[in-house]
């Protein structure tokens, strides 16, 4: 202790100088903004580097808690992704395809509604297509479904508020009323169940004019599809030995492997026609 005092006494002048200079520098740094900024910057560098080292150790001990927080944050952010939300399409394509009725003008028969295909299958025995559009967006049961190139895809069988199930042509129970282009004969298009993209046209008499490569259209005789939508092209003509008909194999015009968007066709006169048919049946049966 005595040595310290002796040291201070012998160097008192110099120490006093240092004290006074230190005090002056404090005054400078505290009361002048420029010097304050420079001094703060320098001090921040020094203390910052020390703090960084301490923080490295401290961070290691906080890893578990940090991890949990990050996972929770991740979950919250993932849920905010736009791709998690799905808005069913409510757009409507207007096609003028209506029957003139009196001289008062025309009334609409057909309306086309676009829908996105959410699920598709081609390899089962009974294939279904699910559309991302439902009854809340004006899709109804028994609407016909076509692809963007006017090729027939199927018929809507079930409808829920936001989704619809379509029985595609590749289904054992699917029967579309069809008409040949050249000959004009009408028949039924079914699916054999063997190959996708290959359909079977039945009920064409052997006296009809058929040629390979001919196109087969919808006949318009049902309320599901209007006249003139393509079903397929004739691939192979075989004569059925047991009946008086041809067995005609078609190559479907709709590509069932790659369906992205389809149009559902709504028939506004369907109810009236069906009621009329039922009344007529009742009258005949009674």
């Amino acid at each position: 202790m005595r040595n310290i005092f002796l040291f201070i006494r012998s160097y008192f002048n110099f120490l006093f100088l240092l004290i006074l200079q230190g005090f002056c520098i404090y005054l400078i740094a505290h009361y002048n903004t420029y010097h304050n900024a420079v001094a703060s910057g320098f001090m921040n560098e020094v203390t910052g580097s020390i703090n960084t080292r301490y923080n490295k150790i401290d961070y290691y001990f906080q890893l578990k808690k940090t991890n949990e927080q990050l996972a929770k944050d991740n979950e919250r952010l993932r849920n905010q992704l736009k791709s998690n939300f799905d808005r069913p399409d409510t757009s409507v394509k207007i096609v003028t395809d209506s029957i003139p009725y009196d001289t008062l003008g025309s009334r609409r028969t057909w309306q086309y509604l676009v829908a996105k295909v959410v699920s598709n299958s081609v390899s089962a025995q009974n294939n279904f297509i699910v559309l991302g559009r439902g009854s809340a967006q004006q899709l109804k049961k028994d609407d016909g479904v076509i692809d963007p190139n006017n090729g027939v895809v199927g018929i809507v069988t079930d409808v829920s508020p936001h989704y619809a199930v379509v029985m595609s042509l590749l289904h054992k129970d699917s029967k579309i009323s069809a008409k040949l282009k050249k000959g004009g004969d009408a028949g039924q298009v079914v699916w054999e169940g063997k190959y996708p993209n290959q359909l079977l046209l039945t009920d064409i008499r052997k006296s009809a004019k058929v040629a390979k490569g001919d196109t087969v259209y919808t006949s318009g005789f049902t309320t599901t599809f209007p006249y003139g939508l393509m079903i397929g092209t004739i691939d192979e003509i075989l004569a059925d030995k047991s009946t008086n008909n041809y067995i005609i194999r078609l190559k479907s015009s709709a590509n069932f492997y790659n369906l992205q968007y389809v149009y559902a066709i709504e028939n506004f006169q369907k109810d009236e026609i069906n009621r009329l048919l039922k009344n007529a049946n009742n009258k005949i049966n009674n």
Partner: protein
């Protein structure tokens, strides 16, 4: 009049002249004339070193109070007052002028040249430390050097003028050992 009163009057007058006359003159942006530290140059020989530094601090602080940037001049004056005793010991003749005369002047330091040297070195120390603190970095080194040298020259000129105008009577005292 006694030493204390003389010194107090000197202190006050020098500060007032510095603030109200010299600070209002803008000679050049690189040159700032200072004359108040003449008080430190003229402090009596016999003062305690600590007291010298304290008085210098008070002088510098008083000047700083008039500007709104505290601390610069105080630091520079304290440094000046620290070096003053060493310089005096080197420069004065062997006869011990600090026992015979009261305060440094041309006469007491044995000639004009030692006195000018003493004044010049202390002025240089004061100015360089002041400008260094103001910038807080050497920055553009040439700017710093030129500013220091020019200011020193101007201040020395002022000191010489003041010496000529206000000559102090330096009595030779004997029997003081």
């Amino acid at each position: 009049m006694s030493t204390l009163v003389k010194n107090i009057i000197r202190f006050v007058i020098l500060i007032l002249v510095q603030v109200f006359v010299l600070d209002r003159i803008h000679v050049h942006y690189m040159v700032t004339p200072y004359i108040y530290y003449l008080f430190i140059l003229w402090m009596p020989f016999k003062l305690n070193r600590t007291i010298q530094m304290l008085i210098a601090f008070a002088l510098g602080f008083a000047l700083d109070s008039f500007r709104h940037h505290p601390g610069f001049h105080a630091a520079a004056c304290v440094l000046m007052a620290y070096f003053r005793p060493f310089l005096i010991n080197i420069l004065i003749p062997q006869e011990g002028a600090d026992n015979n005369y009261e305060e440094p002047s041309a006469k007491s330091m044995g000639g004009f040249m030692p006195y000018m040297l003493y004044a010049a070195v202390l002025t240089l120390v004061h100015h360089s430390w002041l400008f260094f603190l103001e910038a807080w970095e050497f920055g553009n080194f040439w700017y710093f050097i030129v500013k220091t040298l020019l200011s020193t020259a101007i201040s020395l000129l002022l000191i010489m003028i003041v010496e000529l105008i206000f000559s102090r009577k330096q009595q030779f005292r004997t029997n003081t050992v």
